[in-house]
């Protein structure tokens, strides 16, 4: 068809370095003006599919192709990588690394420069693209480190919109964004698609967030094949999502628990569109009444106490203002807030990487200020977001043993403690493997094991589940919950509202260097003023409760979480 920008027919692909094809028998097309969401678990082939659409396959990643793929009616070989980039504009996942220019204006102009567009058209078109995504004149000379994550993503988008492409491809646009910014990003993509008429393909596994605005179709992938290519309403009525390890929207799960049978005409694609009749609403209310009210647990003893902490980076603004809080033994706590709100800075101060200007930190009453970074690490462990930033040894055993060996622990004790840590982290079967043979999620466990081996009482993790699909997410989070049940205090810095709601007992909300809330997660995510101030996102469960006429929306959220924890999880 003439309108088709992308058309796959019986398409397959196998990377040269791999023994099995990554894509099998792909039949899929995108027409002008269409908006398609591609989702699937890690390793399902969705990134490979994206590479085929933007031409990185076959031009950057080599391999064997079967079947046919046409872009604007031509084959990839006929167009070449640069020819494809005239039709397909790609916004990559990492908005930091794809920011190539020294300033915003230069980055937006990059494609035009390469196209030899001269002034005055060069400046005019750059300014027009910036205006299109809402970047104002004053930001044009800013360097990337002066921008927020959301602004960088706008720049990336302007950088591809600067040439009028037929299709915009987004590779996990919600990764690394706080919830409110992610929501704004989905809205911006939707508005741009409507105003320009370009086709949009979004690759994303955070289904509920991606469906915040309507899409025409959802393509569900699994093991290199397209499992379904249907409207979102149809997709959410079946059980294909749960089977393939994608998290369904929370309100859909809640409706299922309540015994409501979803049909496409109820428009379950997002909570704003959802229509429930009185019988269905009564089912939800009945379910709510049946759930037992959760009894408040006993308070464990206080482990860490922070009092009136103030901190400022050299020559910078005040990054922490009068932060006071307590962590109890065996707690699972989430730290949330926008980038730059003080979450990471607070963790760095607790670990001793930075020293507060004012205020006290006490661990079981003992002043932490007297201890060095290395000494503090024996009580407080810190796990970085990207495991590749921590791993320096070839073998898993050596990596986990590193912290003990640098402390001069005798080798027989090292062996015993490493083995114990490997067992705790489910890495015992891999004990004699090299690190490079592990998946991303397994490497994450190696880094956690390498910290646990020092027997800290508090574990701080920066975005423990970033880039993980639902199955790996659940694995990691269940593991962290086990740790907290064993008495470890687990602190997670996160942008993931689901994670916080489901696993954390309490949320510490940071904004502008201040701790603005310290409360149960269900309370935080149902408080509109707080949500607004800290760039969070209201949980759809609350909207469902309101829709069904349940007065205590917060109570509904709490009972849902309790039900998930008790009844559903093994």
């Amino acid at each position: 068809m003439r309108d088709e920008i992308i058309r796959f027919e019986h398409f397959g692909f196998q990377y040269n370095a791999q023994s099995e094809p990554t894509l099998h028998d792909i039949n899929f097309s995108v027409r002008r003006g269409e908006k398609v969401l591609v989702c699937g678990p890690s390793g399902c082939g969705k990134s490979t599919l994206a590479h085929c659409i933007n031409g990185l396959i076959p031009f950057s990643y080599r391999g064997e192709r079967t079947g046919s793929l046409t872009i604007a009616g031509k084959t990839a070989d006929a167009l070449g990588l640069f020819g494809i980039s005239r039709h397909v504009g790609t916004v990559l996942q990492d908005s930091d690394d794809q920011f190539i220019g020294l300033t915003v204006a230069e980055d937006i102009a990059f494609a035009l420069e390469n196209d030899c567009v001269a002034d005055p058209a060069l400046h005019e078109r750059t300014a027009r693209a910036a205006a299109l995504v809402g970047i104002d004149e004053g930001h044009m000379r800013h360097a990337p480190d002066e921008l927020s994550g959301g602004q960088k993503q706008r720049v990336a988008l302007a950088g591809v919109m600067v040439e009028s492409v037929d299709l915009l491809l987004f590779d996990e646009p919600l990764a690394n964004l706080d919830p409110a910014t992610g929501k704004a990003a989905i809205e911006m993509i939707d508005d741009l698609q409507k105003s320009t008429g370009a086709a949009v393909v979004i690759i994303e596994h955070r289904l509920e967030d991606a469906l915040h605005r309507d899409v025409d179709r959802v393509v569900l992938m699994g093991e290199g094949r397209i499992l379904m290519d249907v409207s979102p309403d149809e997709l959410l009525c079946g059980d294909a999502l749960v089977k393939s390890g994608i998290r369904e929207p929370l309100y859909v799960t809640a409706l299922r628990y309540a015994g409501v049978k979803l049909t496409p005409d109820m428009a379950p694609r997002n909570i704003a569109a959802l229509r429930l009749n009185e019988a269905d609403r009564e089912k939800v209310r009945a379910w709510y009444r049946e759930q037992p009210e959760e009894a408040p647990g006993e308070e464990a003893p206080v482990l860490l106490e922070a009092e009136h902490i103030r901190f400022a980076y050299a020559g910078g603004h005040e990054a922490l203002r009068d932060v006071s809080l307590r962590l109890r033994r065996g707690e699972l706590v989430a730290i949330v807030g926008t980038n730059g709100a003080g979450k990471s800075t607070f963790s760095k101060v607790v670990c001793g990487f930075e020293v507060q200007r004012e205020g006290a930190l006490r661990l079981e009453g003992e002043d932490l200020n007297a201890l060095s970074i290395k000494q503090r690490a024996e009580s407080i462990g810190y796990v970085m977001q990207n495991p590749n930033q921590m791993i320096s040894q070839v073998m898993i055993f050596d990596e986990v043993a590193l912290g003990l060996r640098t402390r001069g622990v005798p080798e027989d004790e090292v062996k015993a403690r490493v083995e114990a840590a490997l067992k705790t982290c489910g890495l015992w079967p891999f004990r004699s493997w090299p690190v490079s043979a592990l998946s991303f999620g397994q490497k994450k466990r190696v880094t956690i094991a390498s910290i646990l081996v020092l027997r800290p009482r508090i574990l701080i993790l920066d975005e423990p589940t970033a880039g993980q699909d639902f199955r790996h997410y659940t694995e990691i989070m269940e593991f962290l919950r086990d740790l907290s049940a064993q008495g470890y205090t687990v602190v997670m810095i996160t942008h993931d509202m689901h994670l916080m709601l489901e696993y954390a007992g309490r949320a510490l909300v940071f904004s502008g260097g201040e701790l603005i809330a310290d409360d149960a997660c269900a309370a935080v995510l149902t408080d509109p003023a707080l949500i607004e101030r800290a760039s969070l996102k209201e949980t759809s469960l609350y909207a469902l409760a309101v829709m069904c006429g349940i007065e205590d929306g917060r109570g509904f959220v709490r009972r849902f979480i309790a039900h998930e924890r008790e009844a559903v999880r093994p």
Binding site: D97, F110, E113, L122, A377, I391, S392
Partner: protein, 276 residues
Amino acid sequence: MRNLFNYIDRPSPIHRLTGATKLVCLLLWSFAAMLTYDTRLLALLPLLSMGLFMLSRIRLRDVRFMLGFTAVFMVLNNLLVFLFSPQHGVTLFGTRHELFSLGGRYVVTAEQLFYHLNLVLKYLASIPIVLLFVCTTNPSEFAASLNRVGVKYSVAYSVALALRYIPDIQREYHDISQAQQARGIEMTRRQSLFKRLRSAAAILIPLILSSMDRIETISNAMSLRGFGKNKKRTWYMGRRFTGWDFAAMALCLALLLAALALNRINGGRFWNPFAA
């Protein structure tokens, strides 16, 4: 951008010159200062650069760190020359006017002092102009300038990329080293060389591995937006030459020609006032 350039944005005629002009001028000027030991020209260059500094509105305190650094070097250089070769001026100029003695072979001669004067002037002729270039050239414009003076754009752009990503890599190094310190990796001098090397590896290996991932993303991002498509490219920050640009380049070319001419007239690189 604190790494290489110390760009200070102030409205001035020097700032208004294109980066390419400033680069060409810097090269011509440096060649002139390098080639000649003619004291008259060497005295003119610092005066001229002082004038340019005033024109550029760059204040002394903006560059005081680099100036201080240079001064230390200059003094050290002069001391070493005198220490190892106290009669260098005599050999150069062929005469010997003794002034006073410091004992042993350290007899101070007028020729030696004159040689040191030339050495000092040489520093004053070449360093301030480099500082001026660094302070008045927008790093964003630098790659465009390199390309304008004939450097291939892929090479020129790699300079811009280095300026762009060096701060990111520094930040990452900092984060990694903090996390590794927590595991007991120490970077202090108290340890043996072998231990220190092992500590460095614990920070550098993760840094290199994560930089490799970054390079892959950057190179994909660049080719997806058409980098390398054509033999040429335009530059958003590039600017057109004006009359002032040509005038500035002509002035610097004149300085170089003067240096060459003086070398010929003096029959060598030195101007010899003692020969009279």
